[in-house]
Each structure stands twice: as C-alpha cells, then as structure tokens.
C-alpha cells in the first residue's frame, strides 16, 4: 500500500502547501473539485487538471508515487469514458480528465496534510464518534499492515503458498486473515483500556488550528477564487 509513503510526505514536507492551514487546503481542494464537476468544457477541465499537477510539483511531493495512485481512478474511469465515447469523444475525454483531476486534488491534499489535521477539519462537520473511527482506522492500518507483512513472509517460508493450488492458497489465506482479525480485535480491546485509562469519553481531542490565516493561506484562497470565477464565466475567445 502506498498510504505509508503518502503519510511520510505529509508529515515531513516543508513546502508552502505543507505550511498552509489544513482548513485552507481542504477548502481549496473542495472548491477545485466543485469546479471540475461543474465544468463541461474540455479546455476548462484541462486547466483544472494542470493546476493540481503544478501544485504537486511545487510542493515537492513524490510525483511518481502520486501518479501511481492516480493511475487507479484513470483505469476505473476508462470504462465510463468508453461508454460516453459512444456519444462523443469529448464526453469520454471529459470523464477521464475529471476523474484524474479529482484524484490528483485529493492526493495533493493527503500528501501535504497530516491525517490528524485532516480529520480535525472533518470534525467541524462530522460527529465525534465518526472522527474517532477515522483516527482508529488510520492508526490500526499501519500496525496491521506490519503484521500482515510478517504473516505473509511466514506463510511463504513454511510452504503455505503454491502458485498453482488455488484452494490450498485460499484456505491458508483465510486462516491468516482469521488470525489477523483476532489480533485486530485484541488490539481494539487494548486500545479501549488504554484510552479509558486516559479519560476517553467518546471524543479524541484533535487540534483545529485555523486562525490566524497566514500569507500563503490568503494567496491560495485568492488563487482558488480566481479559478472558480474562471470556471463560472463563459469564455468566448
């Protein structure tokens, strides 16, 4: 999974985007997303695709990693693009550009914002328990991925995987997943005890620094408003 690489970029980057307030980044990401969804002209959509690419380059995140992840939505949208291409090729291209642009927007947000800050912004609109579930999910994911990696190594070393024996592999994989699920449940029980001892009452306190806005926030907001205006205005050049 590339999630660890993305997480590393978000926590260790030092670009102007990393320094911007999380709430600003979430706001402009959603603004660009809205712009992409409402744009019906291929020219505008292309501009909206180029913007996150430029921002990714400027923010110094690993472009290769991001493009690798962005390839998935491109592949999935290909099916819908082919269907739309039966109507017109522009419609098909629009589907591809919108899917790729939206994915790059989200990846840019995730690669420049640590997940605790991101879920902190979400906590403005979501119930506390849901935000806690996000935090527990994210935290558990890395621990369980480590366990899975070790388990897969053990299975291979002990001859539990044969490329040609599908049922045999499935049986062993199910056993491994079962063991991991049991580990996960034990882990949740431990988390419950630890958090209870620390006074957890159903809402993990998350930092929500959004004020005062910095110069970079102001510039990003201004830029996003210019882009929105550009999308809304029907250009006749």
């Amino acid at each position: 999974m590339h999630i660890a690489a993305i997480d590393y970029m978000a926590n260790n980057g030092d670009s102007f985007l990393h320094q911007a307030r999380p709430v600003t980044k979430v706001f402009i990401s959603f603004l660009f997303l809205v712009c992409l969804i409402i744009s019906s002209q291929i020219g505008k959509a292309l501009v909206l695709l180029v913007i996150p690419i430029i921002l990714i380059l400027l923010s110094g995140v690993n472009l290769r990693e991001v493009l690798h992840l962005a390839a998935y939505p491109l592949v999935f949208s290909l099916i819908f693009a082919l269907i739309r291409m039966q109507q017109s090729w522009i419609l098909g291209m629009l589907v591809l550009i919108k899917a790729l642009g939206a994915a790059l927007n989200m990846l840019l947000l995730l690669a420049t914002t640590p997940y605790t800050d991101l879920f902190g912004v979400f906590s403005y609109v979501l119930p506390g328990v849901i935000v806690d579930v996000f935090l527990f999910t994210y935290r558990s994911l890395f621990i369980l991925l480590d366990k899975l990696e070790n388990m897969v190594k053990s299975i291979r070393l002990r001859g539990g995987f044969h490329p040609m024996k599908l049922l045999f592999n499935l049986k062993n994989a199910a056993g491994a997943l079962g063991v991991m699920t049991i580990h996960a449940f034990d882990m949740s029980e431990r988390m419950y005890r630890i958090y209870s001892l620390r006074g957890y009452k159903g809402k993990i306190p998350v930092t929500r620094d959004w004020w005062p806005l910095r110069l970079v926030d102001g510039l990003l907001l201004l830029f996003s408003l210019i882009v929105l205006t550009g999308v809304l205005i029907p250009w006749n050049i």
Partner: protein, 248 residues
C-alpha cells in the same frame, strides 16, 4: 466486492447528493445509539474493522480483477451500525487516496455498508438453523448479489450504461441524422430487417458483458468462500467473536 470506484463527475448530482444525505442520516442515527461505555468500547472496534477492510481490499486475487472487501464478515463481527460506520471510514480513506470519487463516498458507503447490515441480519437469522459456516456463505452470497444488482442499477441509470448494452437503438445516441438515414434508404424487406437486427446486436459488447458477469460471479464466489473459511476458523478458535451475531 461491490465497491465500484466510481470517479467524480460520472454520476449525476441528484444521485450522489441523495446518497450522501441518506448516508449521513444513517451514520448520525447509528452514532447516536452509541452511548457511555458502549461508545468507548465499540469505537476502537469500528476502527480496526475499517483497517481490516482496507487491508482485505489490498490483497490481490491473482488473475481475477476484483478484490475482497469482506463487508459481510465485518457486519457479522461488528454489528450493523459499526459495520456501516467502518464502511464510511474505509470509503473516505480510499477517496482521499484517489480510489473512487469523493462525491461517490455516499453511494459506495451505502452499497458496502448495506452488505454489512444485510449480511449481519441474514447470518443472525440463519445461524441458529444451518450452522455458522453455511450461514455466513449464504448471507454473503445474498448480500453481495443484491448489492451488486443495486450497483448495476445505479450505474446504468446514472452513468448511461445503456449505451454499452448489447441491444440498443442507434437513436439512443441522439444521432437523429444517422437514424434518419436508415429511414431514407427506403423500405426494408423482412429479411433485410432481421439482418439489420442481427447487426444491431453488438457482439463485442455482448462478450464484454458476459466477461463482466463472469468476473462478478467469480468475485462473489471467492469472497463467500473466504468468509466461510474465516467463520469456520473463528468457530473453532474464538467462537465468542461470533456471539454478538449468533445470540443477538
């Protein structure tokens, strides 16, 4: 299984806004139910279930182009409410990674969470009569078939999938002129008409749909089998994990 990875901009706003409203309402209702110690105990469970679902999804199934989600198993283990909350967390994390659109989180959560909710109740109803393993497999097959059918209905009506169906009129494309040309060519005899009908069947598309159906069936089969095997493992090693679904 039914996670459709619909990108942004494909589904019409009516669909995704409605799905978001239903999803948020359900999440709010389920979240409200959790209070006090139950809330403290179950929130980490929902978190690890979400993490497990993400890991299950990352497992490659060789040459079969689908992935597991084990949403039904999550529903059986965590219960319907937590299953839905975990599905929401999973879809949000995936959307942030560009895996499926942000606007389609609502639809994806309803589909995946629906599997968890339905699977839980089906398993609960059947496990007392036919044993845990068979119940889990049956619940899985029914829940996945229904959610996949629902997914196809949503995609068909929202993304214009009728364009890809094997038999459709050329007028469906909105090519009025093209349709007119057929009429202007004159009178078709009965034989010519049937030849034309045969030509209208897009055999490539038909083969494509057969392949899609086979892939979906293979996905349902594998996911049901793995769920059954994991439930069998639990009933031997940790039967208490299934208690909440078996005893209620």
């Amino acid at each position: 299984m039914s996670h459709i990875h619909l990108p942004d901009g494909v589904i019409s706003p009516v669909w995704w806004i409605t799905a978001w409203i239903i999803c948020i309402t359900l999440l709010w209702l389920f979240a409200r139910k959790l209070q006090g110690d139950e809330l403290r105990r179950k929130t980490p469970i929902a978190g690890v279930i979400g993490a497990l679902m993400l890991i299950f999804m990352s497992l490659p199934l060789g040459f079969i182009p689908v992935h597991l989600s084990l949403a039904v198993l999550s529903g059986i283990l965590a219960g319907p409410g937590l299953g839905l909350i975990a599905a929401f967390a999973v879809n949000t994390v995936l959307a942030l990674m560009g895996h499926g659109g942000f606007t389609t989180i609502g639809i994806n959560t309803l589909l995946m969470g629906g599997e968890a909710v339905l699977g839980y109740y089906l398993f609960k109803a059947a496990s007392g009569r036919i044993g845990a393993v068979i119940s889990a497999i049956t619940a899985n097959i029914i829940a996945l078939t229904l959610s996949t059918a629902l997914m196809i209905v949503i995609v068909s009506s929202a993304a214009g999938l009728t364009q890809a169906l094997p038999i459709h009129s050329h007028d469906d494309h909105g090519q009025a002129q093209h349709g007119q040309a057929h009429i202007d060519e004159g009178q078709y005899t009965e034989d010519k008409g049937s030849e034309q009908s045969i030509e209208n069947v897009q055999f490539l598309s038909l083969a494509g749909w057969s392949a899609v159906t086979l892939v979906i069936l293979a996905g349902i089969f594998i996911e049901s089998l793995v769920t059954g095997l994991i439930v069998r493992f639990f009933s031997r090693v940790r039967p208490d994990l299934l208690d909440s679904a078996v005893k209620g």
